[in-house]
C-alpha cells in the first residue's frame, strides 16, 4: 500500500476533468458501474447533461471529495469520513443507514443501496489507488480527459493545472471545497 509520494509527503488526491477532451461517451460511467457493482437505477459517476454546472461541455459528475464535506459533518456515526489523502469514504460496518449524508450532499453524489442498507458513492476507487493503480474511470477514458492529481507532489503536472487555476471546482460558492477540478474551454 503506497500512501507516500516520492518526496515522502502524504498524498493529497484530486480529480482533474478536462472537458475539452471529453466526448461524452460514458465509457467512464460504464467502467465505474462494472468495477463497483453499482445497482441499477443509481450511479457513482456519470456524464451530466451539458447544461448542468453552467458548462457547455459534458461534465463527468461524481462525489467531489469535498475538503469541508457536509456529508462528513452530519454523519452521526462518523461512518463517513475524509481520509488524510483527501478521499471521502464510508465505513460500511459503522453506518446505520440514516441517509442524513444523502440529504446533506449538495452535489447529489450519493444514493441509497437498499440491498446493502447503506448509502454509497464514488470513493475514487480508493482500494485501487492504494494498490498503486488508477481509478476505473481514469483507466478507461478514451479521450484521456481524466487524471488523478496529487497535490502533495510538487512535480505532478495535473496538480499544476489546479494550482495555476486552469482547472476549477464546480460551485465553489457552496464552501465545501471540492476536490474535483474541471478544465473548461472557451
Amino acid at each position: 500500500m503506497s500512501t507516500l509520494t516520492k518526496s515522502g509527503a502524504r498524498h493529497q488526491y484530486a480529480l482533474v476533468v478536462d472537458t475539452t477532451r471529453c466526448i461524452g461517451c460514458e465509457a467512464c460511467s460504464v467502467a465505474c458501474r462494472v468495477e463497483n457493482e453499482v445497482p441499477d437505477g443509481h450511479w457513482r459517476s456519470r456524464i451530466a447533461p451539458p447544461t448542468s454546472g453552467g458548462s457547455k461541455a459534458p461534465l463527468k459528475w461524481s462525489c467531489m471529495h469535498c475538503a469541508d464535506a457536509p456529508c462528513v459533518q452530519v454523519c452521526p456515526t462518523k461512518a463517513t469520513y475524509r481520509r488524510t489523502d483527501g478521499i471521502v469514504v464510508i465505513v460500511a460496518d459503522k453506518c446505520v443507514g440514516c441517509k442524513y449524508c444523502i440529504v446533506a450532499c449538495p452535489y447529489g453524489a450519493r444514493y441509497f443501496d437498499d440491498k446493502k442498507g447503506i448509502p454509497d458513492k464514488c470513493d475514487l476507487c480508493a482500494g485501487m489507488l492504494d494498490a498503486g493503480l488508477k481509478p476505473a474511470c481514469v483507466q478507461t477514458c478514451v479521450g484521456r480527459a481524466l487524471a488523478v492529481a496529487d497535490l502533495a507532489d510538487p512535480h505532478d503536472k495535473d496538480a499544476a493545472r489546479i494550482r495555476s487555476g486552469e482547472a476549477r471546482p464546480l460551485h465553489p460558492e457552496l464552501g465545501t471545497k471540492p476536490s474535483v477540478y474541471y478544465v473548461v474551454g472557451e
Partner: protein, 300 residues
Amino acid sequence: MVWGWQIAWYLFLGGLGAGATVTSLLASRAGPRVGTIERAGATLAGPAVALGTALLVFDLGMGRREPWRLVYLYLNWGSPMTWGTWILTLFIPVALLHALSITGPLPPRWERPVAPVRRAAVRARGTLKVMAGVLAVSTAIYTGVLLSAPPSFPLLGSWLLPVLFLLSALSTGMSAAVVSGYVLARHEKAEFDLCSWSRIHIGLVVMELVVLFAWLTVGAASQAGGDSVQLLVSGSLAPVFWVVVVFGGLIAPVIAHIATATNGNSQVALAGEAGVLAGGLALRYLVLLAAVPVIIGPAL
C-alpha cells in the same frame, strides 16, 4: 428527498410530544390542583416521541438490521442527528417519569411494578419538570435544525425553519393536550376551561402564520429555494399547502379559537384543534416534499 413519510411523522410526533410537555407545564402553573390538561399533556409526550423515534429507527438501513450499531449514533458531536439522539434518549424517559410524577395510580395489576418508580418520580417532581421543559424545547428546535443544517436545500437552510418547527410543535402539542384533556375531563366529569387555552393558542398560531410566510419569503431568494416555494404556493403541492396547512391548520383554528374565547363554544375549538394537528403533520410532509436541491444534479 430520500427521507419519506417515516421522517415526516418522526418530526411531527417529536414536536407534538415536546409541545404537549410544555402545555402540561404551563397548565401546572394554574394552581396546586393537577388538572386534566396537565396530566393529559404529560402522559401523551413520552409515547408520542417514542413512537416517532421507532419510526425513524424503522427507516434506517443497517441500523434496523443490526440494532447494536445504533450506539454509533452518539458519536459525532458536530452532527445535528447526534444531538437529537442524545436529546431524545434523555427526553423519552424524563417525559415518562414526569407523567408518573403527576398522574394517579394505574389499576393495581399495572401499578405494582411501577409503584417504586412513581414514588421516586414524585419526590423528584420539581427537577423532572425543569428537565422535561428544557428537553422538550430542545426536541422541538432540533427537529428544525436537523433539516436546516445541511447546505443542500436552500428552502430548508434557513434559521426560520427551526423557529417555525418550534412554534408548530408548541401548537400541535397544545392541541393534542387540550383535546385529550377535554376527553379526560368529560370522563371524570370535571370542569374544563377552554377559553384561556384558546387565547394562548391564538397567539401561537398567529406567530406561526407570520413565521411561515417570512420563511417562504426568505427561501424564495435563491433559485432552488424559489423553485421550492413555487412548488408549495402554486405548484403541485399548493392544494395541500393552502387548504390543509394554511387554512385548516392556521386560519380556521384562529377563527375557531376566537369564537370559543368570545362565546365559549367548545365544539368549535375542538374542531380547530383537529385542524392544527392535520396542518402540523401536513407541514412536515410538505417541507420534505418541497425540498429542491441547490444543484439539480444529472437526473438518470
